[in-house]
């Protein structure tokens, strides 16, 4: 039997669900990765079920988020549908029964993140105040996972597919940084994280499978070097200080 889970994330607000989410959140056979796949599956377009769209949901924003549609890889007993929208509204979150960490995997942090969201979702005000970064993190996760399906020559200039190892490296950083970047893939086996300030200062991390390089431009003075994963956040904090 297919069970249906419906979750909506509204930028600036939070998550709502209308149905029993326990089917996939407490399932024994679903890995953390499958849960992420679930969130990546979210139907952003017109194909979404309409019965759970919020009354004030602005459909004009729907198509701007086509990037979060991905293949769904869930255990046979579950089915999920999650929607990421802008301009939506929070409706409480009920019956969120997941109490155990998801099965550990290299994506274990994702399950941890979901677990955190569960905790917060019981507290409406906490969710509302802590939402923006949550949405940005999710968007960046979706973006990175969308790279998994890029074919050879995806940029029309002979770029290679982006490896899972590279995606995994980038995900690790997304979870750890205090400010979420803009993310862009490159044609040289790397993923680029960008930060810009209104005054023109610029910070960029180029993440490869085996190293991370950065470029910092402050007052037109450039600095380029290698950086360890552990030191990235310090550079970001310094950049915004």
């Amino acid at each position: 039997m297919v069970e249906c889970t419906k979750i909506e994330i509204s930028e600036g607000y939070s998550i709502l669900n209308e149905m029993d989410t326990s089917s996939f959140l407490s399932g024994q056979s679903k890995s953390a990765k499958s849960l992420l796949r679930l969130t990546g599956e979210i139907n952003c377009g017109v194909a979404s079920p309409t019965d759970w769209i919020l009354n004030n949901y602005n459909t004009s924003t729907e198509n701007t988020l086509a990037w979060c549609t991905q293949d769904l890889q869930l255990a046979p007993s579950s089915y999920g549908s999650l929607k990421l929208v802008r301009g939506g509204k929070m409706n409480g979150f009920t019956n969120f029964t997941h109490t155990e960490p998801m099965i550990t995997s290299e994506y274990g942090f994702i399950s941890q993140y979901v677990g955190e969201s569960k905790t917060e979702l019981h507290n409406y005000s906490t969710v509302v105040s802590g939402d923006k970064d949550y949405i940005k993190i999710l968007k960046n996760i979706f973006t990175l996972y969308s790279y998994e399906n890029l074919p050879a020559n995806w940029n029309t200039y002979g770029a290679n597919p982006i490896s899972l190892k590279l995606i995994s490296n980038a995900l690790d950083i997304i979870y750890s940084v205090s400010v979420q970047p803009k993310i862009f893939p490159t044609g040289r086996n790397s993923v680029q994280f960008e930060y810009k300030k209104a005054n023109g200062d610029y910070l960029e991390f180029e993440i490869y499978e085996d190293r991370i390089e950065y470029l910092k431009i402050i007052n037109d003075i450039e600095e380029e070097d290698l950086v360890s994963k552990e030191d990235i956040n310090a550079i970001i904090i310094d950049f915004y200080a």
Binding site: N63, T143, S146, Y147, L150, W154, F184, P185, R188
Partner: protein, 129 residues
Amino acid sequence: MLDQNIGDDEKLYRRVIINPNNWDEEENRPSSAVFKDSNGTSVDRAGERTEQQVIDNFKNNYDLKAIVNVKAGFCRESNTYPIYTPYPPATENIYHAEIHDSNTEKQISKSKARKLAKNAEINWINKKD
């Protein structure tokens, strides 16, 4: 074949695909990631074509977010190295050229890619998305 020498005033055109996104929507500019290729940054010279013909050729053959160009002279000012490289593997592109970091290094540095992206002229943007 085109002239081996790329004049300073020649525009070097680069496609920006629509998916995955390599366009900074807030700035409405290309990310510097657009100019990062493993084997030098591939571009097209116009040759005998008009700019509109170059744009139409790109638009008709690819699903694009934008088309941008940088002048060869600006590339040189930025210490990059534009070079005419027609007929790259598996293509029949007589207009193909590359921007290298130098005459010995193909991959352009981050700061040079940033300069190119920041100063690229936008020829066309796909307004559909």
